[in-house]
């Protein structure tokens, strides 16, 4: 029976029993209740309903991950929900507070510009050389639409990065879900051959923006290139330069977040453009969790490469038994591999060891972060919708 040696490890893997899946989900249920219904949390009927729906949603998705032993499709439901509901909640807040998505100069001078995580890499050099934050927000809580300051967002980013590393891009980013949702729409990709050199795009954008931000002493990416200004906020167009900036935002959003994902079924903005993603790849070294390719099981069929939404697997990396550093730990390759050669892995342990244990430990950490951060965004979006319906 020589062929037995080549049999996939979990070839006919049965779903986990419902009882065992419920048991494994219990910690996340308790965590969701703690996050959404803690004392001093949101009050009011609409918020309670929104929090309840979100808690059930997040717990159900985790249950399905446990039951089916699949990660990607359930995580995608969460991620797309965050991507769609973030603009709804955010734009509603912005419109309610200042009546426009354009940030007036008064708000910048007052230090009330909402701070997202995108400019973090651009702030480092100016801060290191001059102790200056080149962003018109507030460092301490009190500024920004959510009442949080730059320090809070940086603190949150550091904590989540310590836990899941580059997993930020699959479990915490509130922008990537839009293109992941768009990429899921077509059944097949119209453009299948993509030059792998495009993978260097985020690094080029990161380097250019870091240097420009230092030279111009402004958050250059926010001022000129962020595609998500189109669905959040933008510099109020007071003159021709402002009009050009807003035109660029719309163009990049239409191209990288809508058109290209439809044609390629890839997260093109994340893969070829996002400077924060490149920056986050550096910090991924701090994370104990990773995806590995078990060389003893892999018969290069390229299914994992096709499934990967960010082109983070190449023939060379597969031959080395690892993903590229742009891997966001979304789990698409693990779910796609019929031989279970793509596995979740804890650094230091054997690749052929206990991949399901590694997956579980990663998912507990990642989903705890997802419930805490993404869950609050989902709840806010639902509360906004309920507010309009009520």
């Amino acid at each position: 029976m020589a062929s037995n040696a080549c049999m996939p490890r979990f070839g006919n893997e049965a779903p986990r029993s419902a009882g065992r899946a419920v048991l494994l989900t219990l910690p996340i249920l308790l965590w969701s209740l703690l996050m959404f219904f803690h004392p001093g949390g949101n009050t009011g009927r609409l918020w309670l309903i929104a929090d309840g729906i979100t808690a059930v949603f997040m717990t159900t998705l985790f249950f399905m991950m446990m039951r089916t032993r699949r990660t990607y499709r359930w995580r995608r439901w969460f991620f797309v929900s965050v991507g769609v509901l973030f603009p709804i909640g955010f734009i509603h807040n912005v419109m309610a507070m200042r009546g426009t998505m354009g940030i007036p100069i008064e708000e910048m001078i007052a230090g009330r510009t909402p701070f997202c995580f995108m400019p973090i890499p651009l702030l480092i050099l100016p801060a290191a050389f001059t102790r200056t934050i080149v962003f018109p927000g507030s460092i301490l809580p009190g500024g920004g639409m959510s009442g949080s300051g730059i320090a809070s967002m940086v603190g949150l980013w550091l904590a989540i990065t310590l836990v899941i590393g580059k997993g930020w891009c699959s479990y915490a980013c509130f922008f990537g879900g839009i293109e992941e949702g768009v990429a899921a729409v077509p059944k097949r990709a119209k453009i299948r051959k993509i030059d792998p050199r495009w993978r260097l795009g985020p690094w080029a954008v990161l380097m250019a923006m870091v240097l420009l931000s230092l030279g111009l002493f402004e958050s250059a990416y926010c001022m000129w290139l962020c595609p998500f200004k189109a669905v959040s906020e933008y510099v109020a167009a007071r003159n021709t330069v402002g009009l050009i900036q807003n035109g660029i935002f719309m163009l990049l959003f239409g191209g990288l977040v809508i058109a290209l994902p439809l044609l390629t079924k890839k997260r093109t903005q994340c893969s070829f453009f996002c400077p924060f993603g490149a920056f986050q790849s550096i910090f991924n070294k701090a994370s104990i969790f990773e995806i590995k390719i078990d060389q003893t099981l892999c018969k290069p069929c390229a299914l994992c490469q096709t499934a990967c939404p960010t082109m983070s697997l190449s023939n060379e990396s597969i031959a080395r038994g690892e993903t590229l550093m742009s891997c966001m730990k979304c789990g698409a390759c693990v779910d796609a591999c019929p031989r279970k050669a793509a596995v979740w892995h804890i650094k230091g342990t054997e690749v052929a060891g206990k991949p399901e244990r590694a997956r579980l430990m990663f998912l507990y950490a990642a989903w705890a972060m997802a419930v805490m951060f993404g869950g609050s965004i989902i709840a806010q979006g639902i509360a906004t919708i309920l507010h309009f319906l009520a």
């Binding site: 100016p126 460092i139 940086v154 550091l158 836990v163 002493f217 104990i288 950490a365």
Partner: protein, 163 residues
């Protein structure tokens, strides 16, 4: 189990623990750490620290330290003045201000104070010292040349002519 594997699982367990502690401990710890770095928001936005306050009847004029652009920053140097509180300002303000504290007037600033807080503001600045640029009917064109209302203050930024 090898030592490396034991260390790996221990680190993974600690990571899960760190996730559980994030909202209660880690986030606050990191936030306070960043806040303690002593960073400040670029003065091109904040206007720089106030250095002198002139009392003028029921209202005061707060004069800030001059702000100079960094490297390739696309703005002129300027000095910011805050008139506050807005409720104490007359319908038209026309003040002669000694900006550098040498006892001699440097500029005359004139603007109307509309009752509607969202109304557009315009300012005229007459230069009495060649170090400060005059402004005529200026709105909010640039960070270095503007009049805006922020909360309970009216802010005027006057560009420096010869930094």
């Amino acid at each position: 189990m090898k030592l490396r594997a034991k260390l790996g699982y221990t680190a993974a367990g600690m990571t899960v623990l760190a996730a559980m502690l994030t909202p209660f401990l880690l986030m606050g710890l990191f936030t306070n750490g960043v806040a303690a770095l002593g960073l400040h928001v670029d003065e091109m936005y904040s206007g720089g620290p106030g250095v002198r306050t002139i009392q003028s009847g029921a209202y005061s004029i707060n004069i800030h330290r001059p702000v100079f652009p960094h490297m390739l920053q696309r703005d002129q140097p300027f000095v910011q003045l805050d008139w506050k509180p807005v409720s104490a300002l007359p319908g038209r303000v026309s003040d002669v201000v000694d900006l550098d504290g040498d006892g001699k007037p440097d500029i005359r600033v004139s603007f109307d104070v509309p009752k509607d807080p969202k109304a557009t503001l315009r300012v005229d600045v007459e230069s009495l010292n060649p170090h400060y640029e005059a402004m005529r009917n200026a709105g909010k064109e640039k960070y270095s040349r503007l009049i805006v209302r922020v909360d309970d203050a009216i802010l005027v930024r006057v560009p420096l002519a010869n930094p």
